[in-house]
Symmetry: C2
Subunit: 202 residues, 2 copies
Amino acid sequence: MKLYSSPRSPFVRKVVVAIHELGLADQIELVPTVVAMDQPNAGMLAKNPLGKIPVLELYDGTAIYDSAVIIDYLDRKVGCRLIPAAGDARDWVLVNHALANGLMDILVLWRNERDKPSEQQSTGWIANFGRKTEAVLAALEKQTPELEHKPFGLAHIAIAVVLAYLDFRFEALNWREPCPKLAAWHAKAAQRPSMLASQITA
Amino acid sequence: MKLYSSPRSPFVRKVVVAIHELGLADQIELVPTVVAMDQPNAGMLAKNPLGKIPVLELYDGTAIYDSAVIIDYLDRKVGCRLIPAAGDARDWVLVNHALANGLMDILVLWRNERDKPSEQQSTGWIANFGRKTEAVLAALEKQTPELEHKPFGLAHIAIAVVLAYLDFRFEALNWREPCPKLAAWHAKAAQRPSMLASQITA
């Protein structure tokens, strides 16, 4: 199988970490792919009309996306190790994945906005991105005990990846300062083989 | 249960259609809620730190989000009627939901961008939103036979809702012109009681 990917996308990294956690790294080839908000990639539009990565291409050519659907697909192949099949455990994982994934969305939009020529930037949007990011970090800090207690799965992956993305693109936010427990959890999570194997490269 | 909602959000409407399809309308109270890209809603940030709707609040106060997670939750309660539990059928539904949901994301961003003061608008982004929208519509037109053939589920809901959203916010695109088969399918889907019960109001 092929994974259309970029070493800088947090959505891609989430999938790559999942691939390593599931022991599938030798079955999936990473295909470097460039996409941007203002530059369509015609090759990717043919596979995923949204023009986004990651896309998983199966042996028969079927394209699977987005990142959550790819992980759902791979996890079911291996036996629901990252996403519990039912119950409160499933709800917790899916809601916390949505929280971390939503923060990725915010950060990518924020970065796109701040990289525009200054006269095109919306200060209202940027202020709102900042307040939402603070709110998400406060919520994650509060539930660090849950993160430590529950089996490492889809939510853990998304949270570990989005925190690393904050380090990569939003270093000045200094997220560890208001979040000491989360920072301690992340320091351990960042040492997992799956996280080490998928480090962001500039 | 309470659903924090707005009659104009396509993400909310997706959930409301699902609630009707699952026969759960009498168990869920819709709570009108306003959120915007540049105006945080403090009450919503407390329930969902991303500050987005829809959010489903369970009887015990647990907040479930985003829209796909809410539908996953409700569908499992009732017995996997909208999202097949496994196999190719599940992959098809989840990928096509991701496609329609991704188009909602694009359209909401596009609308936010075009509603900015003209000197703040990025013409590159707007052009790219247009190309992606065309690509998604072409892909949907191509698979209208699948839509007609498969049981009405999560993908159908998302596609019916995003097409109605195009009518609501992007009438000038005239999406039916290049998509006659999709338009015929949509005309029928729009007559389902779930779609009629959740019509967009300005």
